[in-house]
């Protein structure tokens, strides 16, 4: 009989499912693993404790690395990035915007670095085309006139929502499945084998058991926690980084600072915004999403060096992500922290390392290398299962996910459609141009499943513009109430949770314009709606739903 790690009362487990492989983690790596398994004919199930892309995969700046960022100090990662960059462009064109990238050195940056960097690019196979400062500024007039060297590299921006939905939908077309809001509360371990997991629905509390011949632990910063459920030790270093979305693109090309990796060295135009990143702060928690004031100051000041004036622009929203950094024990010598740790990934076959079959952990790495990470993890799982089919995920173009056709847009497309009568119905979110029928369709897509306003935000970009839901929040709550026949109390509760969620991302940025915006939002919520009074005495929404907080890009 299976021994349950953790104290789980057997009688509340209501259903049992069996699959070949259970993938834990709905980020890019987990989704890529699910797809990889499906193509090899392995029946798999993916679970995530929240929604897809709510972890590190959603909390990044949107960069599809050319590898240039690592060319100066981490050739292995640089090589992986350029190869995978080209593969993702080919197999997931719907998720990639080919912005191109620039590496810009200014007179304050180390003068000897560009030569070293260029050598790294050559060795890694990254095409780096030298430009004159005049050429660069002709393409990107917002760049500083003080340029000492500038190169063009094949960076791009990638929409992790669309990439992950593309992977998951493709996997589903092969008969695999993915369940969200399912937290793994125990791994079933019998002797030296892991046999599956016990899941708890984070919205309803319902529990179920999944039996699997192999479990892939693709939980990024939570990899140590999940491995710990099987009594295994995986030590992850956590490095949190802050990002800020400015309310226009500022540049149309990704701009990297050509210097040794440091805080605040990248600007990524993504959709309607420009994301400034990032910092690297060692922390002790996988979900430490704090942003300290110095990080905001530092990021703005550094971005201002390459794009003068940007620090006085309107900052819409800030978020932090936690990079999972893993160094195999034999590599670690003394204290290794933050940027010193290589950004390549690790696959731990626990059968090999610990003598425990049925568990493979994959962690570290980049979103850019998610397909490769999945390939290596699935190779290890297949070896345990005796499956001999090779990986084929680089061979075929993914179908455009339905979720992307609904969500993936440029704002001007929506405006054009609105003005030509192709998007009927009232405009609910003026900033992101979301209409009532779109909102109602998104709600209907959840069927009987619980749905939070924040889920609809991720589906439609509702509330992600300058006003941060000040106007659309109450409208969406009213529409949700009538669509789902909620009580007025539940509608108020839903709005309260959304207000809290939106505030978290603007709180670090409250000065000037955005302070004025939040004053207006607070005026609406308090004085016009009386929301603060209504929320007194209403219990907060289940913590798990409220915790499905920030996902990238404002």
């Amino acid at each position: 009989m299976a021994c349950l790690i953790g104290l789980i009362a057997a009688e509340i487990i209501v259903t049992t499912t069996s699959v070949d492989v259970l993938v834990i983690g709905g980020g890019a790596t987990g989704a890529a693993a699910l797809y990889d398994l499906a193509r090899r004919g392995v029946r798999a199930l993916l679970v995530d404790q929240l929604d897809f892309t709510t972890g590190t995969s959603g909390r990044y700046h949107g960069l599809l690395h050319s590898g240039g960022r690592y060319a100066g100090h981490d050739l292995e990662t640089a090589k992986e990035c350029i190869v995978e960059n080209q593969i993702l462009r080919r197999i997931a064109p719907f998720a990639v915007e080919d912005t191109g990238g620039l590496f810009v050195a200014t007179p304050v940056d180390p003068a000897d670095f560009p030569a070293r960097w260029l050598d790294g690019c050559t060795k890694a196979g990254i095409p780096a085309e030298p430009l004159t400062p005049t050429q660069a500024r002709a393409e990107e007039p917002a760049l500083t006139p003080h340029i000492s060297a500038v190169y063009r590299v094949p960076d791009a921006s990638v929409d992790s929502f669309d990439l992950i939905h593309g992977l998951v939908e493709a996997a589903r077309s092969y008969g695999s499945d993915a369940w969200i809001y399912q937290r793994v509360i125990a791994l079933l371990r019998e002797g030296d084998a892991v046999l599956g997991a016990t899941l708890e629905d984070t919205r309803t509390g319902e529990r179920r058991t999944v039996h699997a011949a192999c479990v892939i632990n693709a939980t990024g910063p939570w990899a140590g926690v999940v491995a710990g459920l099987a009594g295994l030790d995986v030590k992850i270093l956590f490095s949190r980084g802050a990002m800020i979305a400015m309310n226009t693109r500022w540049v149309n090309t990704i701009v990297n600072r050509l210097r040794p990796a440091d805080d605040g060295d990248i600007l990524v135009p993504v959709g309607t915004v420009c994301v400034l990143g990032t910092t690297s702060v060692t922390t002790d928690r996988p979900d430490d999403y704090r942003i300290e004031p110095w990080e905001v100051t530092k990021i703005l000041a550094e971005a201002d060096v390459v794009v003068p004036g940007i620090r006085y622009g309107r900052a819409l929203r800030a978020w932090a992500g936690v990079r999972p950094l893993y160094e195999p024990p034999e590599v670690t010598r003394g204290e290794v922290e933050g940027r010193a740790v290589k950004r390549t990934f690790s696959v731990i076959d626990h059968a090999e390392r610990d003598g425990v079959r049925g568990l493979v952990t994959v962690t570290g790495g980049k979103l850019t290398t998610c397909r490769l990470m999945a390939e290596k993890a699935v190779d290890a799982a297949c070896a345990q299962l005796g499956v001999k089919v090779p990986c084929s995920t680089a061979d075929e173009v993914l179908p455009i996910p339905a979720a992307a056709s609904r969500r993936y847009h440029r704002l001007d497309h929506r405006l054009h459609r609105l003005e030509h009568g192709e998007m009927p119905g009232a405009l609910i979110c003026e900033c992101e141009l979301v209409t009532r029928p779109q909102l109602e369709a998104a709600i209907a897509a959840y069927g009987e499943q619980p749905v939070a306003l924040d889920d609809l935000r991720r589906d439609l970009r509702l509330g992600m513009g300058p006003c941060q839901a000040g106007f659309c929040g109450v409208r969406a709550a009213g529409i949700l109430q009538s669509a789902r026949k909620l009580s007025a109390e539940q509608a108020v509760q839903a709005l309260g949770a959304f207000v809290d969620e939106r505030f978290r991302g603007v709180r670090p940025l409250l000065w000037g314009h955005q302070l004025r915006q939040l004053y207006l939002d607070e005026l609406i919520y308090r004085r016009i709606l009386g929301l603060d009074g209504l929320l007194e005495g209403i219990p907060a929404t289940p913590a798990t739903v409220a915790a499905a907080e920030e996902v990238s890009r404002g």
């Binding site: 119905g425 709550a477 109430q481 207000v499 709180r507 409250l510 004025r516 005026l523 004085r527």
Partner: protein, 424 residues
């Protein structure tokens, strides 16, 4: 006041409730007034009612007076009770004069209990007649809440549901809005203008009539007419046979807009100069007196001179106080010192959640410190300029979002500043 050598005796900077009221008071006292403002004040994004001391349990003015004793740096304490009473009286007088009357205050001096568009409850002292009709104190029967099919800004089920939870019987109904459904981008002011049309109103009334039944009051979103509001209200009440009330909706508010428009037009009729959309960029100061202000124009500035100045440019929201990323707070026209929350940079500005009960320190702590004459003070507490008086949300010492006194402070301090200016 001696005859001025300038085109105006008084320059008022700011067109919010305090700027407009200060200008009205000065005009009524015979002064030649020039009002210069960069934009509309907060009144047009506010619900349209007058909060004096929302949390008062009994007589509101008495409670406000008691609060001033407890918090001596509150603008109420500085302006004094008389200024509050007179400011309120002046507002009611002028509002009636311009045809946008406030309902008479309750005889017992208590606050109204007004429903919000979520079905919450707000307790201001005064409201325009249409909004005040929604007073739910001792309501003795069901309330009917009417919405418009497909309109994005009002959800009658939400209002009725939350009122019912609070023990007030309420029903909801939606009716079609005259010809066709609302458009994709329809604001409250757009609907208010549509309701100026008698044909649109007739269609609404016909649909609502069968639903009234035993309802003792009928509530609509606050879009009952823009230019012909009084007529719309009268007509609806006659046709539906019971009091009809308005529930404030998302900004900009027709009620606030009507009041602003009415006051501006009144000032123009009295030969006051009103310049809206003109930013005052700096003050012209000689010694301890301000002699004029420079107003931005295309590529240059134009000076305007006067004897006395009322500064009512608003707080952080309206731009009377500016802030930056480093935590610096400043007053951009005169460079008056601005107080702020204790702590380094922006660290002490905000609480952890947007709707924290105590409000965010930045709003209560930031602003100008003034004396009882509304003269801005230096850090030692001495008046900076003899002939400049400040009013409204520019002042520190209260939180307009959580203290339930936003309009009361605007009126009391504007009245006091205008009096002090005319005396000086």
């Amino acid at each position: 006041m001696a005859e001025s050598r300038h085109s105006a005796d008084v320059i008022v900077i700011g067109a919010g409730l305090s700027g407009l009221l200060a200008a009205v008071h000065a005009v009524k006292r015979g002064a030649r007034v020039r009002l210069i403002a960069n934009g509309w004040g907060q009144q047009i994004v506010s619900p349209g009612w007058i909060s004096v001391f929302d949390r008062a349990d009994g007589d509101v003015l008495a409670a406000a007076q008691r609060h001033a004793v407890v918090q001596p740096d509150h603008p109420y304490a500085l302006a004094g009770q008389e200024a509050l009473v007179n400011g309120l009286a002046l507002l009611q007088e002028i509002a009636a004069e311009i045809g946008e009357p406030f309902a008479p205050p309750r005889l017992d001096g208590r606050n109204l209990r007004l429903p919000t568009m979520l079905g919450g409850m707000q307790t201001p002292l005064l409201a325009p007649q249409g909004i005040a009709n929604g007073d739910l104190t001792d309501v003795d029967g069901p309330v009917l809440i009417v919405g418009f099919d497909g309109w994005r800004d009002f959800y009658p089920e939400m209002v009725a549901g939350n009122l019912s939870r609070q023990g007030i019987a309420a029903r909801a109904v939606s009716v079609a809005l005259g010809s066709g459904r609302p458009g994709w981008d329809e604001w409250p002011a757009d609907l208010a203008r549509r309701l100026d049309d008698p044909a649109v109103r007739a269609a609404i009334v016909r649909q609502v009539q069968p639903h009234v039944k035993d309802a003792v009051k009928v509530g609509f979103p606050a879009v009952l007419g823009m230019e012909r509001h009084a007529e719309v209200l009268r007509e609806f009440q006659t046709a539906l046979g019971c009091p009809v009330f308005e529930i404030p909706v998302l900004p900009p508010s027709p009620a606030g807009t009507r009041l602003s428009n009415g006051l501006r037009r009144w000032l123009l009729r009295q030969q006051a100069r009103v310049q809206i959309g003109h930013a005052v960029v700096r003050a012209i100061v000689e010694g301890r007196r301000c002699v004029g202000v420079e107003v931005g124009a295309l590529g240059h500035t134009n000076p305007f001179y006067a004897d006395v100045f009322v500064l009512a440019t608003g707080g952080l929201y309206n731009g009377g106080i500016q802030s930056d990323e480093t935590g610096r707070l400043w007053e951009p026209i005169f460079g008056f010192p601005v107080s702020g929350p204790p702590g380094e940079g922006r660290t002490g500005w905000y609480g952890e959640r947007l709707l924290v009960a105590e409000g965010h320190p930045i709003y209560r702590e930031s602003g100008l410190r003034v004396n009882a004459q509304m003269q801005p003070l230096d850090v030692e507490g001495a008046p900076l300029l003899e002939n400049v008086f400040a009013a409204g949300h520019l002042l520190a010492g209260f939180n307009p979002l959580t203290d339930g006194c936003a309009e009361g402070v605007a009126l009391a301090t504007a009245y006091k500043a205008a009096c002090a200016a005319l005396a000086g």
